[in-house]
Amino acid sequence: MDKNLRSVLYSLVGILALMLFLILFLGNVLGISRFQTDQATLGLRLGFMFVGLLAVYAVYSFTKDSPAWEVGTRQVVWMAIGAALYAVFSWFFNATVFVVPSLSQVALRPAIAIPMFFGYAFGPVVGFFTGIVGNTFGDAISGFGLYPQWSVGNGLIGFIAGIPALFADRKRSLDTVLWVGGALTVLATVVYFLNRDQTNLMFFDPANNVFGDQPIALTAGISVLIGFVLVLIVRFAFGKNVDIAAAVTWGMLGNLIGIGYAAISDIWINGYSFAAAVVGEFLPAAGPNLIFAAILVPLLVVAYSAVQRQSGR
């Protein structure tokens, strides 16, 4: 392990340890309320941000010899393009989410296809940068403020979508990824059916008298399941086109883990219950994202393949 890698790793572990000390010892052992998990906000947001970064760093440190981690001129430009596109699409759809008819009490975020596609097409570094920087800029120019753990969650989506670049054979592990994604989907759907009265924390539609304090509709509750079925269809319908199958499958896993990470972190940050985090936040965000992944990502992959064939690059 070289010196730089070790020093960064030590720094991250040190920060993480400090966060855990603050929360566990000061909060739960000494009982200082501001450090308890249902009270703290800002420190925990940063803490979860570091947890996400640490996860990325761990993957990097185990596979740092892979060419997928190289950052050259092309990656620098693609990172910038991905992040800027994600910010612009986020801004547009954040701003018009109230006029675009939604699935059912669910905020549409089609821009999520951008980090998935950029991650898959250009590698994990480009995907991570696209998600984290694009989401940060998108939130900033929309006037939402900064939510570090959600930005890292978006970064994880692009990062995980880019993991196939670490494999020589992109088809490898697709079935394992599907099984993991399927298990997470079933778990989330079961949690929904056990907590159907849980309100949707992410959607407001005053024109139709729908507010966030209403239980989510059945279609929203099973939207992750619908999305996963679509991903399965794409995976097997385009089984011969490895690029489409892999992009959609890894994008699906990235979405489940990235949004899941951000939503679960709100258990500690906002004091939500597990059911509120899963049913009120995870399902309304991750479900439609999967549907976008299954439909928009293949369109982008096919169009990009055509460009590659044409340009020879």
Partner: protein, 291 residues
């Protein structure tokens, strides 16, 4: 063609009198400090500070009008929405003091529309407006005040390595360009009969219809990137340590601003940890509801 932000050198601009690195550090400290509070008494100084920066920025109203109205409208909309629904505030208060209840004289399938005006909802909406408003004002001024030529060296000066500093530089430069491309694509598709606001068909059909917007914008951006990549490669980008044409110099006032920003953040975090700055309802407001 790259579309620039509406930056220009402005006379007597408070923001532009500082080194951009110093201002960005202060800006980040300001954002996270404001996030530490929900108490209007703590948020008012932040809002006043943001207004001071706005009025001394040298940015003319006609330059910023469109973006400013959009963001303020957006913030106002969210504050009103929170007020109407009462959502969001429930994390901060458990009891609501009713001032008045507006109830419709009709019913829809047995449901009578009603709106509760409570002290806590009003105060929460005001607090949210101050909190998000101050952050939004500080954010919107950056592209009007920060010289695009200095983006790269600024991020480099903030500790990023050359490649990531340049990626951040390009990201900020690309945003207005892609926003223009996006709008052009939407307009072009509308001219062909595409109706963005009128999605019809099933769920999958609705999502698929976004393709004519997504694919051209993304693919056009990727194709266009080849010229930029070639230009950078021809200049041997990333081969050795990068040099920057512009050199930033940190003066005494910049160091003072950085120290002030860091102190503000530390104090805000400390106050938050000690339990100050949480949601607060003025006594006078409670009396409106009869105590």
């Amino acid at each position: 063609m790259l579309i620039p932000w509406r930056y220009r050198k402005r006379e007597n601009s408070f923001i532009q009198s500082f080194d951009p690195r110093a201002w960005l550090i202060f800006y980040i400290c300001f954002l996270f400090s404001a996030l530490a509070f929900w108490d209007m008494r703590f948020l008012l100084p932040f809002f006043a500070g943001a207004l001071f920066v706005l009025f001394t920025s040298g940015v003319k109203w006609h330059e910023i009008r469109r973006a400013f109205l959009f963001i303020v409208g957006f913030v106002f909309f969210f504050a009103v929405l929170t007020f109407l629904t009462g959502r969001g505030g429930v994390e901060h208060y458990t009891e609501e003091h009713l001032i008045h209840r507006f109830q419709a004289s009709f019913s829809i399938l047995g449901w009578v529309p009603a709106l509760d005006i409570t002290v806590e909802r009003i105060v929460y909406a005001l607090s949210q407006f101050l909190r998000v408003g101050s952050m939004a004002i500080m954010t919107i001024l950056i592209p009007y005040s920060l010289n695009p030529a200095l983006y790269g060296i600024t991020f480099k000066g903030l500790g990023l390595n050359d490649k990531f500093a340049y990626a951040m530089d390009l990201t900020m430069r690309f945003i207005p360009t892609f926003a223009r491309d996006f709008q052009l694509t939407v307009d072009a598709q509308r001219a062909r009969g595409y109706e963005l606001e009128k999605f019809s068909g099933g769920l999958i059909e609705q999502v698929r219809k976004m393709g004519p917007i997504f694919v051209p914008v993304v693919i056009h951006a990727i194709i266009g990137s080849e010229d930029i990549i070639d230009a950078m490669d021809l200049r041997a980008f990333g081969i050795g340590p990068r040099t920057w044409i512009d050199v930033l110099e940190r003066k005494r006032r910049d160091r003072i601003l950085i120290r002030f920003g860091v102190a503000l953040l530390v104090i805000s975090l400390a106050l938050g940890i000690l339990g100050y700055g949480g949601f607060w309802v003025p006594e006078a407001f409670l009396q409106l509801a009869g105590g």
